[in-house]
């Protein structure tokens, strides 16, 4: 039977142990500080180091998608062993990563590679990748896995709160005009990903009120269905714990995947962002 390998990119923000456990292949995006050499996300720079530079040293960073050649190297290595590839990536509305992967696929005619736009980011992408890898481990057929992925893409929700809209605006991931709103009164904007794009939900004043509102909104949306869920933060341990305490007892879900944001997502959402992603159990 043909083996299936799941490939993703570093913006899935999956914890290391899960990546290792399911032998998920992660292609890193890049983070660039000032005029320095690009750093490979999660390879050259870890979450802790990144936030130290962003928060303590107040350094701004840029990001860059993997080059097609980087995907080519990864893909050709896997296909050489005769395996098929399902490569799932960051929303194409936010990054050209999918495009690079697609070009690499075109460079390998005759190989069995599917490149998929998750229309999500961070652990929203992470949960899809994780479930796909589990299905592959369980010997599901490629069609079964692709169907599962397709269903999850349409059902995955990602709600998050940022300390400031400054970083999203800086990276051009949200309209400039919206960034002007609420730079005072300790407003914490609640946002979500809709069809792969960042859109505002509400403005809430005060972090703990924002966390409570986030929990409320997720509870309302998720309803009483069984879900799998993940909480990510970058880095705000106490905020994460507050959100965990307020949200998890209100949901019908197992133990959520807890993770931290990598340098690439961190570049775009700024310090102390906190997010919840969930998808109905299949």
């Amino acid at each position: 039977m043909n083996k299936i390998r799941i490939v993703t990119d570093s913006t899935a923000d999956l914890p290391k142990e899960l990546i290792d456990k399911h032998r998920i292949v992660v292609v890193p995006l890049k983070v660039i500080f000032n005029d320095e050499e690009p750093l490979l996300d999660g390879v050259d720079i870890e979450t802790e180091q990144f936030y130290r530079r962003q928060v303590e040293k107040k350094e701004y960073s840029r990001t860059s998608q993997p080059a097609p050649a980087e995907f080519y190297n990864v893909f050709s290595g896997i296909t050489a062993s005769g395996a098929s590839i399902i490569s799932i990536h960051l929303s194409s509305a936010l990054s050209g990563t999918c495009q690079s992967a697609w070009i690499a696929r075109e460079m390998l005619p005759g190989s069995d590679i599917d490149v998929i736009d998750s229309k999500s980011a961070s652990m929203g992408l992470g949960l899809i990748v994780l479930e796909a890898a589990r299905a592959a481990d369980n010997g599901k057929t490629k069609k079964e896995i692709l169907d599962l992925i397709g269903k999850m893409i349409s059902e995955t929700k990602l709600y998050f709160v940022v300390d400031t809209l400054e970083y999203l605006a800086r990276g051009g991931r949200i309209g400039k005009a919206q960034a002007l709103l609420g730079t005072i009164l300790s407003i914490k904007p609640l946002l979500h990903l809709n069809d792969g794009m960042v859109e505002p939900l509400e403005k809430v004043r005060g972090k703990s009120r924002a966390i409570e509102r986030l929990a409320q909104l997720v509870e309302e949306k998720a309803g009483r269905q069984r879900v799998i869920c993940s909480i990510v933060h970058g880095v705000d341990q106490s905020g994460m714990e507050q959100l965990y305490k307020r949200l998890i007892p209100r949901l019908k879900c197992g133990e959520p995947v807890l993770s931290t944001l990598g340098a690439v997502i961190g570049t775009h959402v700024g310090p102390r962002a906190l997010g919840v992603t969930w998808v109905p159990e299949s």
């Binding site: 709103l181 005072i184 009164l185 407003i187 005060g206």
Partner: protein, 541 residues
């Protein structure tokens, strides 16, 4: 000496007397407040409203009481400030509608006009409350109706007496007035207007007038009052461009010019003794024609509605403008408050608040300027809501008034803005947001009083929670702590303190530090409001 009819000049005289007396009395009226808060601006508002009415009335050169009353109503409507000002403007409006076609008014006409004014005033408020200016106006009208005299001076005296009696009874109808030991301020303002009018009539020592009024020009086109007001809002005070040619013998050009002059502006009367071309912008093209008809036969008549032309012109212009789906006008005072509102998405922050309520005219002017045909107004003060509502009825734009009664409510409404939402959703969310916040105001008492067993001295700090006076004292820390005790329940509240101008910020910071410890689990934030009158405005969410 009896007076059997009033003409336009009499009305002007009465208005002038009323405005003069209001000017002298306005501070006294301002202080007649239920709570001793320095927000008493009823007298000032009524004075400004009536001054605007007088100004328009004086601009009419005619002696026609219908025309003068109409101008007066237009001025009142545009200049209306505060609740009592808006109600007063509606009384004037009723007056004008009633006297519309009259050149002179008899006692019966004045009685009808008062009755009509009463009806308009009651209609203007959503929930009429007895024991206010409304009752005083109503009783005045009844006083006129019951006098059954043809002598206007006698009728006016009767009206005045009824008004004073009604005013004195206002505390019996409204317990809050009784508790505060005052009569209703708006009612007092109305009595003052009647008193001023009567004094002016007496001192003008009118000569007796004939009881038979001249026949009025029935052909006068019934220009809808509202049309006039709208055009005024767009600085077009005369609506109809009227042009015609008079043909006849020995046409007296100068006389015709003098006679037409009161009917409008941009007047041109040119030609010779046999043919004269007339051009005038007027609200009464019918009267213009009637007047010219006395001198000869008319030809080449042209009457254009300029307000329609103007609107067409404007809308042509607007097509090229990007425009926003809607614009927001928010009322606030203080640079801190104003910049917060702008930061949250208000397109314009109109300076206003307690003691300086924006007029309907100001709302109309700003609404005309904002780059959208849909406008949301946040009055942010209970005394400004009516003026904003009045602007809604008069503006050619689609205006929605969100009934925000305080600065914190206005800010809460602005916070609910989401650029992805359409107009209706935005309005809905804003209205919802009003109840998400409680408002505290700390200011200083303007007079000694007793309220709910609290003895309050002039100059003392007083604290109001959602408009209700709950504490008073000399010491900011006592007042502040009484308020927190009343309003901070449980945990998870966000308390934002906007400090006003002339406030010792160090003292407030210390109070907040103490509160953070005492009410742990709640957030406390200090913001510069810079507002006058209120030492502190506090929101609790």
């Amino acid at each position: 000496m009896a007076v059997y009819s009033f003409d336009g000049d009499d009305l002007k005289t009465m208005l002038r007397g009323a405005v003069d007396l209001l000017e002298q009395t306005k501070e006294e009226i301002d202080s007649l407040n239920v709570f001793p808060v320095p927000d008493g601006d009823t007298g000032t508002n009524m004075y400004q409203t009536l001054s605007s009415a007088l100004k328009e009335a004086l601009g009419i050169e005619s002696n026609h009481i219908g025309l003068v009353a109409e101008a007066c109503a237009r001025g009142g409507l545009i200049g209306a400030r505060g609740n009592s000002g808006v109600i007063l403007s509606q009384v004037l409006q009723g007056f004008a509608l009633s006297l519309h076609s009259k050149e002179n008014a008899s006692a019966a006409d004045i009685s009808d006009a008062l009755e009509n004014g009463t009806q308009m005033a009651y209609r203007a408020v959503m929930i009429p409350v007895e024991g206010t200016i409304l009752t005083v106006v109503k009783k005045s009208a009844e006083g006129a109706a019951n006098r059954h005299s043809r002598d206007l001076l006698r009728v006016m005296v009767a009206v005045m007496k009824s008004a004073i009696t009604a005013l004195q009874k206002t505390p019996d109808l409204l317990p809050v007035l009784k508790q505060a030991g005052v009569v209703d301020a708006g009612g007092k303002g109305f009595v003052t207007i009647l008193e001023g009018a009567l004094q002016a009539l007496k001192s003008a020592s009118p000569t007796a007038k004939t009881p038979s009024p001249k026949p009025t020009a029935r052909t006068a086109s019934r220009v809808q009052g509202l049309l006039d007001f709208q055009s005024s809002a767009q600085s077009l005070s005369f609506n109809y461009c009227t042009e015609l040619i008079i043909k006849g013998n020995n046409l007296p050009g100068d006389t015709i010019k003098a006679q037409l002059f009161p009917f409008g502006d941009s007047l041109m009367v040119v030609g010779d003794t046999s043919t004269i071309k007339v051009h005038i912008h007027s609200n009464h093209p019918g009267l213009v024609l009637e007047c010219c008809l006395k001198y000869g036969s008319l030809s080449d008549l042209k009457i254009n509605n300029m307000s329609e032309q103007y609107n067409e012109f404007i809308s042509e212009d607007k097509k090229n403008e990007p425009g926003k789906p809607f614009a927001i006008i928010s009322v606030g005072a203080g640079e801190g408050i104003s910049s917060i509102m702008k930061n949250l998405g208000a397109d314009t922050v109109l300076a206003g608040g307690q003691t300086f309520n924006p007029s309907t005219g100001e709302f109309l002017e700003i609404a005309a300027q904002v780059p959208s045909s849909k406008v949301i107004i946040l009055p942010n003060n209970k005394n400004i809501i009516l003026a904003a509502e009045q602007a809604r009825g008069l503006s050619p734009k689609e205006i929605t008034v969100i009934p925000a009664r305080s600065i914190p409510q206005g800010i809460s409404a602005l916070l609910s803005l989401n650029p992805d939402n359409d107009f209706n959703t935005t309005v809905h969310k804003m209205k919802e947001a009003l109840s998400a916040v409680r408002t505290v105001e700390v200011t200083r008492a303007v007079r000694n009083t007793t309220y709910n067993d609290m003895v309050i001295k002039k100059g003392q700090l007083i604290g109001l929670v959602d408009g209700d006076l709950i504490t008073a004292g000399d010491d900011m820390s006592k007042v502040f702590n009484d308020i927190l005790k009343k309003i901070v329940e449980g945990s998870g509240n966000l308390v934002t303190v906007y400090y006003g101008e002339n406030v010792n910020i160090n003292e407030i910071e210390v109070l907040l530090e103490t509160a953070r410890v005492k009410y742990s689990g709640n957030d406390f934030e200090l913001q510069k409001g810079g507002q006058p009158v209120y030492d502190l405005i506090i929101s609790v969410e």
